[in-house]
Each structure stands twice: as structure tokens, then as C-alpha cells.
Symmetry: C2
Subunit: 342 residues, 2 copies
DNA sequence: TTGTACGCGTTATCAA
DNA sequence: TTGATAACGCGTACAA
């Protein structure tokens, strides 16, 4: 039973397994077992323990448990680009599915590239079972540093391809995905495509631009031109597209702008309509990638590619549960969502 | 020095303060002190310790530290409505500022109302220093349950007013904010306002609707009509507004729709333009609340009210640092951002 | 099925 | 300023 707090003790009274044990008339370890799913314990003992725990309001302390077992059931999610609305979708899905499977989530906002390693360090100090990178600035330099220090047990790159063998990458098959988009664009008869890419990080990055350009070259013998936006940000994409095409003759404009993701695509639609004063898709069509919620707004009605985030999140759970080798999780495939923009 | 892992020991070798102490020629407690900002330790000792730590790659274990000190430097953020894009803004700001001040963030996705108490319980098992509620389903019943169990040390309601004395509410002065909006709407000469409210949770909720209606009544002696959307979701708002005004005569339509927040306002603009086939603001004006990034898109150009999230987040830090009494943090004030929609 | 050393890595507190 | 004792609350491994 919890001893009444003495005036000298500023610490709030905590109910421990010992208290429950004493109350239920058993030992601390029986209490421990009662709270584990698969443990050899008689149903009678468990019942008694659980009743006592209920009475006393006992719940196991996860800090102490983590310390003793060297397993925290904690996962760190590192994010650096909050301007992309797709992040919210991923966060929702990941936190939900992780929680369903018994993991808690540490959300870490990495302020810049240098900050990443300190964030990783911080996460490791909490003994996270894994750190998941969901951003754009996580290049090989960062990965190498993180892995070199053996700071984190599992380093996972989510929704992005990584070849680093010490890293687990969970993503969809971008080559196939972009090919799907390219095929659609070709089939619809567009002839002067333009590719709008995101930040050109040094590595571990998306190959969408290269894939699309190569695909087009294979088919038609010409490389479409392209531009890049330094951040996946709708507003910035608007600016880049507006400036890029300002003063172009109608004939020199593309008839479709293929965007690396929806954040860029939304900005592109804005630019076409409000800066160039043209129509989508009649004058210039647009495709995106991600299928963010706004893609469905009547303003945009974006034709885009939806990644199977739920399946990917479940893949993450698998990784967390696994100990040894694992299948390749870099080949998820999604689906093209055809709306009005292309 | 870390002893080489014996084949029997599956646990990865960890460098502890003892290792550093031995290496540096001191005691564990000196090492501990070297890592604290304000601790009585000679600069010489500290230097020696830090050098040794650097050599060995030692970092303090936060789990053990939390367990021993009964302070986790961990804050749980509970969120239940990820469809509101403003959440992403809040998450970015909160995680950034908390991290800057030494707190880590646990992001918890509470699936439904019942789940909240179990989420709170879970957070308490990690000994979080505080739980911050950033959602819509956290009504008095939930709060009472949470507090009754004394599960969490500090329960903070963020961006929402709460009168519960055991709860710390950090929000802006909604009355003043809405009055600002109302004044603007009146000054612009609108005469047939309509209020679009969000989910009508039982308590700890926003008084924006009541405030606006009363304000208008005071001024003109009539209560504007209103409707409510069950979730702060752009798409749902679109549906509600479309249905509500379908078949109205032009003369019966409002000349301005005041929305409880931007998520609703964006959907409202969509509905006016694409469902009713009218113009914003010429036929119907719209105001929002929050100033989400998209509010600045040329499609929307939303006139809206921006809360001082940064200041509010810093208020949260103050709360975390404080021990005793605290000023009232429910009177932050923001500013009206005038764009084109009203 | 149940009970017992011992350890996890750190911090509070007091003594030197 | 430094060192030492005693927690913090639980898990593992093994013995009863």
C-alpha cells in the first residue's frame, strides 16, 4: 500500500508493483506477469492482481520498464518540412497505426540539416527503438553520421528511396509510379511536358524527375525541360512557375506540367490560373503526386498519384517487430487518381 | 571502459557515466555534474570529463535520468482532428519551440473520445511533465476523468478556452478576436451575415458563434442564422454549405459568411464558387480564423484572424518551467489579416 | 506456477 | 568541490 507522503517527501506518491503485490497477497513478479500478454500465470492470480491494480490505480511505469528491458516501444519521427500538407496525412497515419500496435511516437522537428544529427542523438538518448526520417534534408552525409555513431538502433527512411544498406527504406516504387503518370500523360496526347521538381538534395532523394525525363526521351527522343523549387511549398511553387513562364509566347508554353508532388502541383495550378491567366487543363494540364486532401477541392481537382500510406505504415510496424532480415520494402505501389487537372 | 560484449550478452555495449569516470579519473557524480549547467564543479574537472565523454562517445541516458529525477522533459501532444490544416502549423511551432527549450514531444493521435483517457494514461506511464490537448473532443467529461485519476501532472488545453480550474488553458481572447472580425464585417457594410460553426462539443469549446451572434444582435437587433459542420474539414464544410443554400433565391442568401475557422472558410469559398456559382466577395464574402497557409493562395485570399501561435507556445514553455501559480494565459491577442475574401 | 538476486543508468542527499 | 549511499521501478534469469 502506498505509504502516506511524509512532509519531507516532495515526490508524489507512486503506486508500484510492490504495492499491488502486497495488496493482492503475492509477489512483485506475479504482478509483473499479470500485465504481460504471454506469461505463465494462473488466471486466478492474474484476476486477483488486476483487481488489486484497479483498486490502487496502478499502471506499470514505462520508463523503468524501458530501462530494465532495453526496449522503449518508442519511435522517433523526424520531420523537417512542415510546409507540405502531405506531412499531416503521414503523421496521422503513422501515429495511428503505431499506437494501435503499441508504439508511442516522438515527433522531432529538425530545424536544419545540422540539427538533424543532434535530433538523432537526442532520440537515442531516449532509447527509441527506431528513428524514422520523413523529410527532405536527410542526405547520405546525415545518414552516415548517424549510423557511424551507432546512435540509433534502426534508421528508417520513410516515403523516400535510400540505397544505404544500413538504412531501411519504406517507399513506393517511384519508377513504376512515375511511369504510370507518364503513360497517362502520353495517352492523353500531351506533347510539350514540363517537369517541376522539388529540392535537389544531394542523395537519398526522389528519382522522379530523372525517371520522367528518361521515359519521355525513350518515347519521343526529346528531353522535356524542367525547373526546381527549393522547398515543397505551394506558395514557392507559385512563385517559381509564375516567374519561369512570365513573358512566354503561348506556343512556347508546355501543355502539361508534371509535378513532383501535390504541394508543387497546387502552386502550379494557382500560377497557371492566376498568374498566367490560363485554364487548367485546357491550356495547361497539371499532375501531382500524393493526393493530399486539397487535391479534391473543386478549385484544383488534381490528377495525382496516391501512395499506399497505410500499407507503408504497416510495413514500418513489421520492421519494428522484426529482428533479423526483412523483405525489401521499397516497392509499394499506389494508384493514379484521375480528376480534372489532366 | 566498456567491456567487450561477451557472446552471452545480447545487449549492445553502452557507455555509462561510470565508464567516463574511470577513463577521466574521477567519479560518476563528477561526470554527472559536468553535464549539468549549474553544478558546483571545477572547470578543470569538467573539461577533463567532457574530453573523456567525447572520446568514448558518451551521452547521458534520459530514461535513467527521468526515472531518478522524476522529471522527463517530455510533453505529450494529444491531437484528434488531423483534417484541419492548422494543426500542422501548431505542431510545427510547438515542436520547434519546445525542443529549443529542452523538451521532447510525444505526439498522440487520439482516435475517438473514449480513446482519450487511455492516451492520457499512456502518456502518464511515460511520466510526461505535461499533456497538451490540441483538439476538439476534449470536453469536461474527459478532463474530469483525466484529472480525477491524477494521471498527468499538468493538463494543458491549447488554443481553446477552458474554465476548469485544474486545467491550464492557453488561448487567445476569442471574444475580442471575434469582435474584431464582427467590427470589420460591420464596417464593410455587410448586412446579412451567416455564421458557419464547427462541431458543437459539449464544453471547453469555442464561444465564437455565440459571441458573434450576440455582438450582431446588440448592434442591429437581429440574430443572424447559422449552421454547423461536424468536423473542421474543408470538404465537409463544402457539402454543408452547398446543401444548406441549395435552391435559395439570390435575395435570401447572406452577403457574408463568417466561419469559425479557415478549414470551414476554405470549404465555404469552394461551395460559393463551384456549387452556388457565385463570386467571392462580390456576391458572398467570407471570413475565416487561423490564417492557414492556403488562406494566402490566390484562389482563396481569405480575410482571416491570425492567432499568435508562437507567443502561445512560449506561454506553454513558461507553464512547463513554472511550479506555483501563474498568470492567466487565456487572453492572447492576434490580428486580423485582410485579404480579398471580405 | 511462483519467488529471489541482481542489474538497468542515473540522480538526491549527505558526508568528507 | 568531490565521493559515497540509497533510491527510482521494473525485467531477466534462474531456482524453488
Amino acid at each position: 500500500m502506498p505509504t502516506p507522503t511524509t512532509p519531507k517527501d516532495p515526490r508524489p506518491e507512486t503506486i508500484t508493483a510492490d504495492d499491488v503485490a502486497e495488496f493482492a497477497g503475492g509477489s512483485r513478479w506475479t504482478v509483473n506477469r499479470a500485465f504481460k500478454q504471454k506469461a505463465s500465470i494462473s488466471t486466478k492470480s492474474r484476476k486477483k492482481v488486476m483487481a488489486a491494480a484497479e483498486q490502487l490505480g496502478y499502471v506499470p511505469d514505462l520508463l523503468a520498464a524501458s530501462l530494465a528491458s532495453d526496449k522503449s516501444n518508442l519511435v522517433a519521427l523526424l520531420v523537417d518540412d512542415f510546409s507540405n500538407p502531405h506531412k499531416l496525412v503521414m503523421l496521422e497515419r503513422l501515429t495511428r497505426i503505431l499506437r494501435k500496435n503499441g508504439w508511442d511516437t516522438l515527433l522531432v522537428n529538425t530545424l536544419d540539416e545540422n540539427d538533424t544529427s543532434s535530433a538523432l542523438l537526442n532520440a537515442s538518448q531516449r532509447r527509441v527503438d527506431a528513428a524514422v526520417l520523413i523529410g527532405i534534408q536527410y542526405n547520405d552525409k546525415v545518414l552516415a553520421a548517424a549510423l557511424g555513431a551507432r546512435r540509433v538502433r534502426k534508421l528508417i527512411v520513410f516515403a523516400r528511396y535510400s540505397e544505404n544498406p544500413d538504412t531501411i527504406s519504406i517507399c513506393c516504387d517511384d519508377q513504376a509510379a512515375i511511369s504510370t503518370v507518364a503513360d497517362y500523360v502520353m495517352q492523353k496526347g500531351y506533347q510539350r511536358p514540363f517537369f517541376l521538381a522539388g529540392p535537389q538534395t544531394s542523395s537519398a532523394h526522389l528519382m522522379r524527375k530523372e525517371t520522367f525525363l528518361n521515359r519521355w526521351y525513350q518515347e519521343y527522343g526529346v528531353k522535356p525541360s524542367s525547373a526546381s523549387v527549393p522547398v515543397y511549398d505551394q506558395r514557392l511553387a507559385f512563385d517559381v512557375v509564375s516567374k519561369h513562364f512570365a513573358g512566354f509566347n503561348r506556343a512556347d508554353l508546355p501543355d502539361v506540367i508534371v509535378c513532383e508532388n501535390d504541394a508543387l502541383a497546387l502552386g502550379t495550378v494557382d500560377a497557371i490560373k492566376y498568374s498566367l491567366g490560363l485554364r487548367v487543363p485546357e491550356d495547361i494540364a497539371v499532375t501531382g503526386f500524393d493526393d493530399v486532401p486539397q487535391a479534391d477541392s473543386p478549385h484544383y481537382l488534381l490528377t495525382t498519384y496516391r501512395q499506399p500510406i497505410t500499407a507503408m505504415a504497416e510495413g514500418l510496424v513489421k520492421v519494428l517487430k522484426s529482428h533479423g532480415e526483412l523483405e525489401d520494402l521499397r516497392k509499394f505501389s499506389g494508384e493514379l487518381v484521375v480528376r480534372n487537372s489532366a
